[in-house]
């Protein structure tokens, strides 16, 4: 199936064909819908989607309706990578035994199903080396069950289980480094992407599909309800996440880091935070220390990536 999907330069290069049908029940402005729509414009041939339980699943597969114009499989919350492993290996052996058509397998999983409850099955699949692309749409909390904290929720963010209380101002822990975890499995390709940079996102999916073995793509998915902002601002907020260095867009290819979107003059983090209800309390004087810590984390992470890129050290 190689070579059927050239890289795109402008949105006009994107195929018109939609694999993700309109009429699904995701919220207006949902970042996840944008990610899925864009990623599926990058497929290069027969493709199967695997999706664990979550917003995307419940909003697109309510029987008897489906938004999926290609094969779609949901089994449970924590096992998408394992289900995908089985599909990949079954198709490989059936291709060998009776010429079943080869298919690409793409997982779309939320941060709960990836950072937390699904981390073990993801790790197992990455270690075993199945040929699959795992895309995590990260809206930084358990949005489907009502905005509870996850391992992907950033420091200080308010969720329904890490509320901005009088004593404890939001989540007290920092976000897990998913790409670090993925790269530590020595997989050939791991990258982040943002809906604010759709060409980069689509090209990363295309690039990943051409690379044999397991690939992980981590995409920030702004959530209107969970983050607290008007539906029209999703892409704007995603862009600010990149421009403030809150969400660096980079890739790790065979262990080498490359920052894809350079942010030489970052905007103040407050510009990203102030648009979102989940961070409102961080801008109050009494929580200045949390804001400072969050800024420090963001800068440290950026510096780390710059050093890794410059040194060419294999992570």
């Amino acid at each position: 199936m190689s070579g059927q999907a050239p890289f795109v330069k402008t949105p006009k290069d994107l195929p018109r064909e939609e694999w993700f049908a309109p009429g699904h029940r995701l919220c207006a402005g949902c970042g996840v819908g944008i990610i899925v729509k864009l990623a599926l414009k990058a497929i290069r041939g027969p493709t199967i989607v695997v999706n664990p339980t979550g917003c995307l699943e419940v909003a697109t597969t309510c029987y008897p309706y489906s938004a999926w114009k290609l094969p779609y499989v949901h089994v449970a919350f924590e096992n998408a990578a394992a289900v995908a492993s089985g599909i990949v290996e079954a198709i490989n052996i059936l291709n060998k035994k009776r010429g079943k058509k080869l298919h690409d397998v793409i997982v779309f999983a939320g941060d709960g199903g990836t950072f937390d409850i699904g981390l073990q099955s993801l790790s197992g699949a990455l270690e075993r080396g199945h040929n699959l692309l795992y895309i995590c749409y990260d809206n930084e909390a358990y949005m489907n069950t009502g905005i509870q904290r996850s391992g992907a929720t950033p420091l200080g963010a308010a969720t329904t289980t890490s509320p901005a209380g009088k004593v404890i101002p939001g989540k007290q822990q920092r976000k897990k480094d998913l790409i670090g975890i993925a790269a530590a499995h020595r997989i050939p390709y791991a990258a982040t992407a943002s809906i604010s940079h759709p060409i980069d996102l689509v090209n990363k999916v295309r690039k990943a599909l051409e690379i044999p073995g397991p690939k992980v793509l981590h995409v920030l998915a702004p959530c209107v309800r969970g983050w607290g902002y008007p539906p029209s601002d999703s892409v704007k907020i995603a862009r600010l996440a990149v421009e403030t260095r809150f969400f660096p867009v980079y890739e790790v290819e065979n262990g080498r880091v490359k920052i894809n979107i350079k942010v030489d003059k970052p905007k103040p983090l407050e510009e990203f935070l102030k648009l979102q209800r989940r961070f409102a309390h961080l801008l109050k004087p009494e929580n200045a220390h949390v804001l400072e810590q969050l800024k420090k984390n963001v800068e440290e992470n950026w510096e780390r990536l710059v050093k890794l890129e410059e040194s060419g050290v294999i992570i």
């Binding site: 492993s85 089985g86 099955s121």
Partner: protein, 394 residues
């Protein structure tokens, strides 16, 4: 029916041989005692090129069964094996596998559940999956564990069934015992199990959505279809065992029975204890005691109709359970038999003997004592108690 060499073989190895001869495409498992030999042997077959299949050692049983669901939907003939804690960890996906109607076969090497930690024989592991919509078969010997593997694949992939099937075999008593085995030939196996045809196989050219959400307005209809599929398995089983008899010369039925037809007192059991009871019954028959033994091969769907034919003619029954429903009315098999008696208007005394938990030996003299107790119940028209935990130290 081709001529084959008779073997002396370990239970686990006999199962692995059957899986190999079933021409599986994908095997996914996580090692757990006493199932390990099955997966070790299968990985050996694959590594040596004797079996053309993908062998995937998942990072947990939960993932192993998830791999099987994915592979099964993609059209592969899939196999897994586990027991005890592993089966408990799979629990969530056990229900998904049956409700998503994924054919597959799982050998459950029945072992007790923690706590306390114990690796020996008990049926509590599969009983926790009793109501999952799987077909559950029980082997009483190594030969049966081997034969039932083929039968399970055939039943599982039948278009009227399309369900996962478990073949249960007693931990160590069968898994680690060397017993004689008359295998079927590879040719007969291939004839009995041609490559899997699965109408709903994942295919880009025929895109379907698997594992949808169903709200209260449609959920019950999904479950009704599951109920009907499990019930279909009862009918299809009769055809499958008939066909298997043609290639093996061995005729299976919903249960094994020994001298049950003219028995006054019957003992019903699951698994290898059937053999022990049979030997004891033989001796008591020589004394003139009209005892019989019945070992269920099919536990789910529960073969009520076939069982009633036997129960109508006996005067008392003892049901032996190697599992227990704590706080319930007895062991799970006992509850089923009592319900069968009641709803078929058979008014005979029934007693439950709970035995062998955590692998406690149940010896020949004990089997004899249980049979005598059954005979006494038949003679006196009743038992002293409903449930007796057998051989518990004071």
């Amino acid at each position: 029916m081709a001529q084959v060499q008779r073997l002396a073989i370990l239970g686990d190895e006999a199962v692995a041989l059957a899986v190999k001869q079933s021409n599986v495409d994908v095997i996914a498992a996580y090692p757990i005692t006493p199932q390990t030999i099955i997966v070790e042997k299968l990985s050996e077959y694959v590594a040596n090129g004797e079996l053309d299949a993908a062998f995937i050692q998942a990072e947990s049983e939960h993932s192993a069964l998830s791999v099987c669901v994915g592979a099964g939907l993609a059209g592969a003939r899939v196999y897994t094996s586990t027991c005890s804690q592993g089966l408990a960890l799979m629990h969530e996906i056990v229900y998904a596998a049956s409700s998503m109607r994924v054919p597959m076969v799982m050998t459950i090497v029945n072992r007790s559940l923690n706590a306390p930690l114990n690796i020996h024989c008990e049926h509590g592991d599969v009983m926790a999956e009793r109501d999952s919509g799987w077909v559950h078969l029980f082997a009483t010997s190594v030969q049966e564990a081997y034969d039932l593997t083929f039968i399970a694949f055939k039943l599982s992939e039948h278009p009227d069934v399309l369900l996962p099937v478990s073949v249960n075999m007693d931990a160590f008593i069968l898994s680690h015992s060397i017993e004689p085995l008359t295998p079927i030939s590879d040719e007969d196996a291939a004839k009995f199990l041609p490559p899997k045809k699965y109408e709903y196989e994942i295919d880009f050219d025929n895109p379907m959505t698997y594992g949808t959400m169903a709200l209260p307005d449609t959920y019950m209809e999904f479950k009704m279809q599951l109920k009907e599929a499990v019930e279909n398995a009862e009918k299809v089983f009769a055809d499958v065992v008939e066909e298997y008899a043609k290639i093996s010369g061995r005729k299976y039925w919903y249960f094994n029975s020994y001298m049950a037809d003219d028995a006054d007192a019957l003992v019903i059991v699951l698994g290898s204890t059937y053999g022990t009871l049979k030997t004891a019954a033989k001796k008591l028959r020589e004394e003139g005691l009209k005892v019989g033994v019945l070992g269920l091969t099919m536990f789910r769907p529960f073969p009520e109709k076939q069982l009633v034919e036997v129960l109508r003619n006996v005067k008392a029954v003892i049901v032996m359970d190697r599992a227990y429903s704590y706080g319930g009315l007895g062991g799970p098999l006992y509850s089923d038999v009592v319900a069968t008696l009641y709803r078929n208007g058979i008014r005979i005394p029934a007693k439950n003997v709970v035995y062998g938990l955590g692998g406690r030996d149940f010896k020949l003299d004990e089997a004899e004592a249980v049979l005598r107790m059954a005979a006494q119940g038949a003679r006196e028209g009743g038992f002293d108690t409903h449930v007796q935990w057998w051989g518990v130290k004071a």
